[in-house]
């Protein structure tokens, strides 16, 4: 048993170890930011690589905690994303007086997400979700001298508290109607009675809050805009990814008996999310707000694949999130490099960027093409497989609307491309000195954007784990 405990809980234990190490270092006050950041980057890299080994399937604590090869992979995708964040925003990290705290908060939130993905019981699920949310609010407030940052944190914490309340209410309804909160027992007890449908709606709303599914998306743009870029990236990639994973697991496993009910909910909300996310993204000027709305639209797309309720659905969602990590982080990385050097965050400021910063421009172009789903980037494969999985249900209107949404999204992604490559500007952003580590991470992202799609064995690898 103790041996099994250490092997099964390895990702969480390693993460906790890193958190404590950082706390001790902070107490000692012995290290400069540069050295410490390097140390953190190495630790996170090791954490990522270590995630590939000694993965076993099993349950702990009477089914409270569960893990499998797929769950290990999902955690590893998140670890990769955190490692990339530590590299991409190096410039900003080094300027922070309280850098270790930021990482402690970020890794605590990650820890919460790991437990979230592994949870096998609604109680565990709730605790993990809180652990994954509250540190993020503190991270949003990390630009201490900026009022907007505090505002973002306030909005974040209030909306989270609200959604937690809804979630708890949903959980209590589940318990009231079935007498159980265990993921393993629930499928046998759910029969689609009105009370259970109401419970599903409440649980669904809580997920919708975290994933910023329309109509629960209103906090997203404000929080993204006000938070420091690293927090925004964390929120839009890791937070979204983790919640999407557990959302899928809950719907596919726990609420499987009611899949006809949630299929309609997913379909309608998916259409609303895509359309509204896309339409709002059209007119955004600030790059962070722009990416916020684009990420809302992307979540709508994830829901298309998720609606399929099949192995293909699971695979394509995990695959898409892997691609999304590379694409969205690349876009945020470029935006952060520009913002931390010049303070410019508006799309109009990017005019003529290609003349002065060809490397950043190409990475940004790749990232946006991938988000728009243009081949040969991985986004094309990701979106296509989501659509194909969704189409297996045979609802053509739904798939047509999704496909047409790709055109709207292309329009606003091309707006940025146009500013960068085509528009004339007498005073473009000057040549930016990119941190070596950020450049390295951007290259990883670029390579990921191209290779994850073309190398089909990555998809097969995920499918084998499902």
């Amino acid at each position: 048993m103790p041996n099994e405990f250490f092997i099964l809980m390895k990702p969480e234990l390693v993460l906790t170890g890193i958190i404590f190490l950082l706390l001790f270092i902070k107490l000692g006050k012995g290290l400069k930011n540069d050295t410490l950041l390097l140390l953190i980057q190495v630790l996170l890299l090791l954490n990522f690589i270590g995630g590939f080994f000694f993965n076993k399937e099993g349950v702990l604590f009477d089914g409270m905690y569960q893990t499998s090869a797929l769950i290990a992979l999902q955690k590893n995708i998140l670890s990769l994303a955190v490692y990339l964040i530590s590299l991409l925003f190096a410039d900003w990290f080094k300027k922070q007086e309280h850098m270790p705290e930021f990482f402690v908060l970020m890794l605590s939130a990650m820890l919460g997400m790991f437990f979230l993905i592994s949870s096998g019981n609604l109680l565990m699920f709730f605790l993990a979700l809180e652990l994954a949310t509250i540190p993020v609010a503190a991270m949003a407030n990390f630009d201490l001298d900026k009022k907007r940052s505090s505002e973002a944190a306030m909005k974040m914490i209030l909306s989270s508290a609200f959604s937690s309340g809804i979630l708890l209410f949903g959980i209590s309804l589940v318990y009231g109607s079935t007498g159980s909160i265990s993921f393993a027992e629930l499928p046998g007890l759910l029969n689609g009675s009105p009370l259970q449908i109401l419970a599903l709606v409440f649980l669904f709303s809580a997920f919708a809050f975290k994933l910023s599914i329309v109509p629960f998306h209103l906090w997203t743009a404000d929080v993204y805009e006000g938070s420091p870029m690293a927090t925004t990236a964390f929120l839009s990639v890791i937070s979204k990814g983790a919640v999407a994973f557990i959302f899928m697991a809950t719907l596919y496993k726990v609420f499987q008996p009611m899949h006809e009910v949630w299929y309609n909910m997913v379909m309608i909300l998916s259409i609303a999310t895509m359309v509204i996310g896309n339409l709002f993204a059209l007119r955004q000027q600030n790059i962070k707000r722009f990416l916020a709305f684009s990420s809302i639209a992307q979540v709508g797309f994830i829901l298309v694949g998720l609606s399929s309720n099949s192995i293909e659905g699971t695979t394509s969602v995990v695959y898409f999130i892997l691609i999304y990590v590379f694409s969205n982080l690349a876009a945020f990385g470029v935006a952060a490099a520009i913002a931390s050097n010049t303070g410019k965050e508006n799309i109009d400021d990017y005019k003529g960027l290609y003349r002065t910063n060809p490397f950043l421009s190409w990475v940004l172009a790749l990232a946006l093409f991938s988000l728009a789903g243009i081949p040969p980037t991985a986004g094309f494969f990701g979106k296509l497989f989501l659509l194909t999985a969704g189409a297996s249900k045979g609802s053509f209107l739904f798939i047509t609307i999704a496909a047409l949404n790709m055109i709207i999204s292309l329009y606003y992604y091309l707006r940025v491309i146009r500013a960068v490559f085509m528009d004339q500007n007498d005073e473009p952003i000057e040549k930016i000195r990119i941190e070596p580590s950020a450049k390295f991470a951007l290259m990883i992202c670029g390579a990921g954007i191209i290779l994850v799609g073309l190398l089909s064995w990555i998809y097969d690898y995920i499918q084998n784990l499902v």
Binding site: E312, T315, F369, I374, P375, P376, F380, F381, L384, F385, L387, T388, A391, S392, G394, F396, I399, T400, A403, L404, M406, I407, L410, Y411, L414, I417, R418, F421, M422, D423, S456, Y459, D460, Q463
Partner: protein, 491 residues
């Protein structure tokens, strides 16, 4: 011949271009790459004919198949029949000519040639793929290079045109995608494989939904009325080589898709919707021709006339006879060569006179005899003079269309032939005005074509003459492929 070579060659060229240091190296690498592709296309033609002469009756030759996303039943399946070979030849001709006429591009040369070669990669891949997924993949690969070529190196309202083109083409491919998914999920066996799907009988109800989606989707690429509006703007704003690739290759992707995917896989749908296809294509033919009459800008003239000429492609497909389909493919090849040459010549004139307005130039024949002679020949080809490719192709379409005894199709054919008269009017007016008469003042110092321009023109002219003077080789190449499609449709 291993068909992957046709994809690897452009890919390799594009990568080597990225590694080059200066513009001169980039140009020579691109030219060398295009030349190798050109040779490869001819090798393919000869090997194909050789194989057929040996009695190989297989529908597709040189099939190769690699595993790619096996869990979705997707494979990298390549193969060619006569139609594909004809399209590959066309692509090779246009690519080498396009590389040659862009010799003077100074703005971001490396990126320009990289995108040009990437565009050709998409076209080659599209024409040889036998798996609908990779066909779609290559179709979409070609969109973004077009967007960037127009937006960065174009002229006039280039951003607007580039946006319009990219969005309309993406809209077309979104429809194609939905249609493909409909086919994929139509039976119990989920497959994207073209050969496999052609043996399965796709339910009629699915065909009725998917045919319009696929035909309109591909039709957007080939200027199907009323989705032709990107054509004039896109072509006129694009740089010379961009226009050549757009009209010469890219519009043919749509025609090929309409034929190979929509009509071949969904014969019942094709029969059901034939009337609408014919009506739309006749409108495109006549509307394009009349709209051209009103144009003053040489590029707009050629762009609108492309709408009219591509109407013949769709008319040939819509008529559903073996001859008319052969004619449609021949029209694609012929129009590709002709329009590429037309745009090349317009580019040469514009580079010297800095205007494209017909009424701002005259008497150019005196200063640049070579360029204007080519303009003359290509104009005659466009209006369908016997001996040049345009006549052969359009004639085949007409003959094929006339095979139907019913009044509706005969009236449609007669209306389509009327456009030839209109074509003659606008071509002769434009060509005469620019070439004859007194030389416009200020144009006395103009020079004739340089070596690269001459070479490009000669290559394309050779293609036009080869089809015009000896049409049988193309007819024999394309005919069997069209026959297989017709057999599937039945009478």
């Amino acid at each position: 011949m291993n068909l992957s070579l046709l994809i690897l060659l452009p890919l390799l060229t594009a990568i080597v271009i990225l590694l080059m240091r200066n513009a001169a190296q980039v140009k020579w690498v691109a030219l060398a790459g295009a030349a190798v592709q050109f040779v490869a296309a001819f090798v393919l033609l000869f090997q194909f004919n050789h194989q057929r002469a040996l009695g190989d009756k297989a529908q597709m030759l040189f099939e190769t198949q690699y595993n790619w996303f096996p869990s979705w039943n997707i494979s990298f399946h390549l193969g060619v029949d006569g139609i594909s070979v004809a399209m590959i030849l066309l692509t090779a001709f246009v690519v080498i000519a396009g590389v040659l006429v862009s010799w003077n591009v100074t703005k971001m040369t490396k990126e320009f040639y990289f995108l040009l070669i990437l565009l050709s990669l998409g076209a080659y891949g599209f024409f040889i793929s036998l798996d609908l997924f990779i066909l779609f993949f290559f179709l979409e690969i070609a969109v973004i290079p077009k967007y960037l070529l127009i937006g960065i190196w174009g002229s006039g309202k280039k951003e607007y045109s580039a946006n319009k083109l990219a969005l309309m083409l993406m809209g077309g491919s979104a429809l194609v995608l939905v249609g493909l998914l409909g086919i994929y999920f139509s039976g119990t066996e989920h497959s994207f494989d073209l050969m496999r799907l052609s043996q399965l009988n796709i339910p009629v109800s699915v065909q009725m939904i998917c045919f319009p989606l696929l035909f309109v989707g591909f039709g957007v690429f080939t200027a199907l009325f009323p989705f032709h509006t990107w054509v004039p703007d896109g072509h006129s704003s694009a740089p010379t080589a961009g226009s050549m690739f757009l009209a010469g290759i890219s519009m043919k992707l749509g025609g090929y898709g309409c034929l190979r995917v929509a009509t071949y896989l969904l014969p019942e749908g094709a029969k059901e919707y034939a009337t609408i296809v014919i009506v739309l294509s006749v409108i495109a033919i006549l509307y394009g021709a009349f709209a051209t009459m009103m144009q003053k800008d040489l590029k707009y003239i050629n762009a609108y006339s492309s709408v009219s000429h591509c109407g013949f492609v769709l008319l040939g497909i819509g008529m559903l006879t073996k001859t008319s389909m052969t004619g449609a493919v021949m029209q694609m090849v012929s129009h590709g060569l002709m329009t590429a040459l037309f745009f090349a010549v317009i580019g040469m004139i514009y580079e010297r006179t800095h205007t494209r307005q017909v009424n701002e130039m005259s008497g150019l024949l005196k200063r640049m005899p070579f360029i204007i002679s080519v303009l003359f020949i290509v104009g005659l080809c466009s209006l369908g003079l016997p001996g040049l490719s345009g006549f052969v192709a359009e004639m085949t379409v007409f003959v094929g269309s006339w095979e139907h005894p019913d009044t509706f199709r005969r009236v449609a054919t007669i209306l389509a032939t009327l456009s030839i008269v209109v074509t003659a009017v606008y071509i002769l007016r434009a060509v005469t005005k620019t070439s004859m008469g007194p030389l416009t003042t200020g144009f006395e110092k103009l020079t004739d074509a340089t070596w690269n321009e001459k070479l490009a023109a000669v290559i394309l002219l050779a293609g036009i003459l080869a089809i015009g003077l000896a049409p049988f080789w193309l007819n024999d190449l394309v005919g069997p492929g069209a026959e297989i499609i017709m057999n599937k449709i039945g009478k």
